[in-house]
Symmetry: D2
Subunit: 305 residues, 4 copies
């Protein structure tokens, strides 16, 4: 297959006040991303608040996404679940719905190990004929994908890529070096704030939650890196770092999870992309004062007039 | 309602070689527990490997349990899921299936906070009319239920009890002291190895996974504590501590999760209670050498001739 | 040697306003403890704020302690340092000053391992002819003494005992079981709040910081346990648990370290045992409002009229 | 003062077989570093194994370093200790010995907080008239310097710089952005493997332990970055990443601390820079097989013929 690459945002899932998915807003999010030149979309990831949705809603979100995207870019789908066979169940649905690849974490809730994680990916690969992307997100999973786990799975063909949201850029660099000669493997960073670094090290793509708010910024950053203009890349990245401060606006009042995605949703509401900043329970939405502080950040970073 | 109490084992879920639930073995587990005098059963908990089963299987397990137990003791059901509305979905199923109460953890996978955890329990209580038991298991959930979270929820009537698998006996003691005058609240330890201590501090029950292997031992321990014979309680507990070493037999080869429940299953197979020691994927079952080491422990603790 | 046993408080180090040791107050602390019937004293431990004092002051504190105690009970001395040869240096000073035994943690600051910890204790034993007590305090050292580390060192004669401040009562029980037949080994808990449990499991002693405030309470608890009156032991322990809440009075304002020992010092000042509640830098002392809250706890637990 | 900058290696402390400092080898290390063009040296840091040395040896090492360096570059000295007044003691010695600045961590062993850390630095600044550099090394200290702690201390003039060994490059970037207009503040990364990234983000210097083995490599990397040749910087960095694998050669046998610095020493011995690879107790030195594996890495990265 063609290697995935570029800016692949994890798509925020807008909600109605009754906590159902707001599909008209969702459609606008997708068009906003594609209109800015994003190279793919990652639906049903952590930023999508996938674990707050039941199986039926997950399927609907994915089917809606595939329909709206309509082949313009690849749709990669998270199939997150705590254990192997439940992941396989989601992966079959994702394949049927038209996902180009599925994104799989290590097992969670259960106490696991690296050999068990390797088995987990192999069982899934054996069960469903769809490309697998490994998702390293220890802040949620509480297990890190070891360098040797990633390289073993990649070299043997079990996974075609990695989304690294671990924040361990040194380890990510070793994955890039170890797999440099495997042209079919792509390695993406989940960072919002050191994307220029990741691209400079050779990363093939970036999956920034903040791209829901400012996809143009990340596409400009990507384009600058592609042409080797690292000064421009850094300048764009630094502006995006200032924008990223929206994720901490509510941190003294709500949970870390609610503050981050809640900051994205609140900004997207201010920008007219989505209708509400409703969060799935038990997450609380940001309040008016927090929204005002987010607007100030949007203005200072050039997104709001 | 009558306060729950006594020995309430978290029921192991035996599997067939094809990973489906082995219901004939499951029935034997339940009869083994009730025949030994256990005061309740906790199905679909961590020891039951609940997160390895899909919604349909969870429902079948619970319905089967309720049918077999047939009112002899209360059936408490785990409704574990990462987020509020998914827990509510499970809880509705559990209520319909006849569970006496449901057991709920803090949110997991998502990054949470104590206020959010409190909201989580309140939302569930509002949505489903069934008694809630809080389940504190930070080794899986990666958040600890704070003392103030438990006492707030208990005093306001949101939860009727606690299963404390945190290993923090000092904190558990404070919960017992804080709620001593709330006669309707019951507090159970999830420990296998300091149960005499927990009962001496005033715990109302115990939920030991090891009781699947030796329910008579835990009932004797409970009875000794009830009559104030702490020397006998300690002696029984110390024998059970030696038995508990089965959970570490495979720890150098398989994951911590697989080694623990796998040790229980392997012992239960040796004792003729269940037919296989099959583990759900990606957990590996214990091998023949490990099984032999477990048999040696069963013999030295008087369970195998 | 005779096995150590009983209530062995870690002695608080009172300070003058200029941060020098207030020896008249220090003498009163020792007399307060011995007058209450404590069976030994542990100086230069974490509660003594040993790491805040330089080598010269450490030596003076120990020499003063030995002089005042004057053989009435054993004086056990902490020789805490990050690495082996520095510990050996302290241990030689402690031996010369008349300590009955020295208390040694795992290496800290440096990233260590269980085999390295075992070597650490062996090197110290080889270098200094004084009994060694292992000190398990992962909240400070950030490494836990594994069960096998403790039993290996005890069985081979490298250590004569353990002070377990890990809060892991299950693991402590296994140490008690593993070493039950080694009559020369003593195992003490560092807990303040589950001492009855530790004694019920067979612990030989207790090292509670809170005994600086209420040594009579811990001696009563010890005596009740010795005569097997577990109901009286529990009642005394529960009162002490209420008293222990002084350690959290200042937790929202100062660090955890300052709040705990600072609570002890502030209570001891209110009780007239020491002159100031001065804390070594950078720890802040408790303020007047916090002191008033501590006095309320002292009154409600019967220590202040 | 002139801002510090460039490649400032943390100097390895070579030992004789009797664990005393091997000063002839030490001198060769310094000449090796200065001969390669390093812009400063950092003595008595974690790589120097400072916490393994007593006060007298620390002083000797520093005095020897100042004498040998003889003003050719600045000598920055670690004054690591667990608490404020002990750090002040070391800092006075360091000032007297001619250190250009002293490097200070947060308190360790004791449980601390960000406000207490801020006080810690302020007390030291008040007590000793020498520039302070904050050292963020949570793997040893077990507390992270928060972004706001660093910026507060820098903006008010308490610290003149930061050595960031936290591995959190996103947080480091925010420190760079927050302090961009403070021309007298310098921010250095402690990383060995993402130095090109740190320099691309605007870091003023780098403190790589691996520069003891290959200072020319880091100077070439620095020079490439200064002229904006990021392709050359990346290529050099990638070679150094391969060289850095020496730190894991012994990781299955010795502790993490011993494996890392032990790998440096063993490589330096192979390169003829120092005479032994002796490690301070309880660290074990690398053995012959491990040394052979290190030599292979030295050959494959061009350092050994």
């Amino acid at each position: 297959m063609t290697k995935f690459h570029g800016v692949v945002p994890p798509v925020v899932t807008p909600l109605n006040p009754d906590f159902t998915v707001d599909y008209p807003s969702y459609t606008r999010v997708l068009e906003h991303l594609l209109g800015a030149g994003c190279h793919g979309v990652f639906v049903l990831g952590s930023t999508s608040e996938v674990v707050f949705h039941n199986e039926k809603t997950r399927q609907e979100i994915l089917e809606h996404s595939v329909k709206i995207v309509n082949g313009r870019v690849p749709v990669i789908a998270g199939v997150l679940d705590a254990t192997t066979d439940n992941v396989i169940g989601h992966a079959k649905v994702a394949k049927a719905a038209g996902a180009a690849a599925v994104v799989v974490t290590a097992p969670y809730y259960t106490v696991t190990s690296q050999p068990e994680i390797i088995d987990h990916f192999r069982y899934i690969k054996d069960a469903v004929d769809i490309p697998l992307v490994a998702y390293d997100i220890p802040v949620c999973v509480h297990a890190k994908l070891a360098r040797s786990t990633v390289t073993t799975l990649a070299k043997e063909g079990t996974i075609i890529g990695l989304k690294d949201s671990s924040g361990d850029d040194g380890n990510f660099r070793y994955a890039l070096l170890d797999l440099a000669e495997h042209e079919d493997i792509f390695l993406m960073t989940g960072s919002e704030i050191v994307v220029d670094n990741a691209l400079s090290m050779g990363a093939h793509g970036v999956v920034p939650g903040l791209a829901n708010v400012d996809p143009h910024g990340y596409v400009r950053l990507w384009d600058a890196a592609q042409r080797g203009d690292w000064a421009a890349a850094r300048k764009e990245q630094e502006r995006l770092c200032r924008l990223f401060e929206i994720v901490w606006v509510a941190q003294s009042r709500v949970s870390g999870g609610a503050s981050g995605v809640g900051g994205f949703k609140t900004a997207m509401r201010s920008l007219g992309i989505i209708d509400t900043n409703v969060m799935p329970r038990p997450r609380q939405a940001l309040d008016a004062a927090e929204s005002a502080r987010i607007d100030a950040i949007l203005r200072s970073t050039g997104l709001l007039g």
